[in-house]
């Protein structure tokens, strides 16, 4: 099962390596990992997507909680939540492809944020499946490069993760 684990941790140097090190040391899987400071500058929020059985996810949660720098851990996928990922896709946009590329980007509610004579950079937000679908919808040979942030997520409604 795929799980989205949200972690609040002290914004200290080395905190990221403690989390990443834990995953490799205990052979836990990481699909994606994102981290940035929060509105409280002393805290960072990290989102990890991992795939594992319930037992493994339980161990991951417990082991994360055991790290001294970790303030709180929550498995977002246990309850209703929203997840988003940002992708920047640089694509070739010449001739007839130029118009078609703009059209597909519009359909996926992407935005073109950089334009040259021969290329676009398209900004696209959504869950992972939507980003995959966009890449599937365009001609793969036109893709010059892509970069994705990995998933970040938040619980719906009253579910709040705060220190």
């Amino acid at each position: 099962m795929r799980h989205i684990i949200s972690i609040l941790l002290e914004n200290e140097s080395g905190a990221l390596s403690r989390v990443a090190g834990l995953f490799s040391a205990r052979a836990f899987n990481i699909e994606s990992l994102t981290v940035a400071p929060t509105e409280d500058a002393s805290l960072s929020r990290m989102t990890i997507v991992s795939i594992g059985s319930d037992d493994v996810i339980e161990q991951i949660t417990k082991q994360l909680n055991k790290l001294i720098d970790v303030v709180k851990v929550v498995d977002l996928s246990e309850a209703p939540h929203i997840e988003r990922e940002l992708m920047l896709a640089k694509v070739r946009a010449t001739g007839k492809d130029r118009e078609e590329m703009k059209r597909v980007a519009d359909i996926f509610r992407g935005r073109i944020i950089d334009v040259t004579e021969s290329s676009y950079v398209i900004e696209l937000t959504g869950n992972g499946a939507k980003l995959d679908a966009f890449l599937a919808a365009i001609d793969g040979s036109l893709v010059l490069e892509t970069v994705r942030t990995g998933v970040c997520g938040v619980g719906r409604g009253d579910r709040i993760l705060k220190a």
Binding site: L9, E10, D55, Q59, K66, I68
Partner: protein, 569 residues
Amino acid sequence: MQLTGAEIVIRCLQEEKVEFVFGYPGGSVLYIYDELFKQDQFKHVLVRHEQAAVHAADAYSRSSRKVGVCMVTSGPGVTNAVTGIATAYMDSSPLVVISGQVPTAYIGQDAFQEADTVGITRPCVKHNFLVKDVKDLAVTLKKAFYLAKSGRPGPVLVDIPKDITTHKCDFHYPKSISMRSYNPVVKGHSGQIKKAVQLLLEARRPMIYAGGGVILSDASDKLTQVTRMLGFPITQTLMGLGGYPATDGQFLGMLGMHGTYEANMAMQHCDVLLAVGARFDDRVIGNTAHFGEVARKIIHIDIDPSSISKRVKVDVPIVGNLPDVLDEIIKLLEAAAAKPDAKGLASWWKQIDEWRGKNSLRYTQGTDLIMPQYVIEKLYEVTGGDAFVTSDVGQHQMWAAQYYKFDKPRRWINSGGLGTMGFGLPAAMGVRFANPKATVACVTGEASIQMCIQELSTCKQYRLPIKIVNLNNRYLGMVRQWQQMFHGNRYSESYVDALPDFVKLAEAYGHVGIRVEKPADVEGALREAFVKHKNELVFLDILTDQTANVFPMVAAGKGLSEMILAEDL
């Protein structure tokens, strides 16, 4: 008044009432050692290798319930210490390791004796810190002591760059500390504890399985009380020995890979299992699928939630400090109308006595070759069962655990988790510093002892009258045993050729050496060492039967009840 970082380190250690710092000086800790020189509130113990400093501090802690402190220099000082730190981490020993670091401005530039200490030690410490500002130094050391001894204890490392030890600031040592990200649970969940007591009272084939957590949390009195109130059989892990008196009739001996027949059989076939401060590790449970073939309810009390349901799924998890939780259980048992199922218990004990009848630790001592088991039994007799016994790792460790009956906690000091050869001698030093009048024996083998043998020099410097019981079988015994049993008798690199003359070696270091070659001489030699040379270090080099193996044995990956007994071969 403003103090330098070096002065602050010393003041913090004094505030923590540290008695001994085990360490080795070097470039980046020179200012700290300079301040250390100027004070006499605590003593520094100069080892001969940093690994030994950490082992000694570790055993000092294990035998005294105080936090062990060591100090090493940057780079190789730290990397030498890593084995010791990992040993302490695996056995949850509370340590504060202070390491020097190159000056702040040099960090990352591959400076002389620079190592990424925080990076290297990160996976084998409870937590570590790099101090970047002298103003953080005191509070960081306070946190280090607090983290080391609270919750599930463990080693904490504080890395201090050399320039920080010369910077000055006001000194204030906080009385207490709170960290929003660290709040270890103390009291167990009362609903879960009630459930546990109910299960215990309904059990027909109950079993208590206790581990090192009992020793670490000083829960042996409460554990003994609960066990006696219930009248249940109890077994202990290698790390738990001494947590319940081994000479008591309810004790079934150690369990696991080299556990007794009755302990392993009872563990496998019980219907309710009370696990106390233990972690169901591979050397204890063997094959978890095989263990799961028998239906049983498991209650697991531990301070560390991540130890619960890690390898074996449990029914009633209780996270809490063992003495507190056991105290609650005692109160509930006293108040309970129901009593343990007497009939069920009687037939369970009958079954256990049948298993006991196998006498799985039996061996025969002839007149020619010395059996290692016999040496441990004689050691037990000669020391009145009251010595602190440290060990290295291998066959001798298992024999010491099997045949020396520990009635008190903190008397058996060994590297159970990491299995570190070289632990025994420096550990014996730490024990002796913590217990300056105690009898301290180091049970070792001719291979293990050579991994930290340089400490014979430290023992001389501090006049430590440790008795080294070297079970010398001229083999890496446990490796040889596995090669005999599982690798077609191919003794690949397990023979230790060109051994030193240990008697002369001991004498060269200024100690007493005695060689023992005949069974009839064992007891006399032990008495000579422990009585006649009471105040000297004695190295007993005892030549034992080269073919002796440790039994019973649960082969790796096998189930607990699939034991190989001595008589099977």
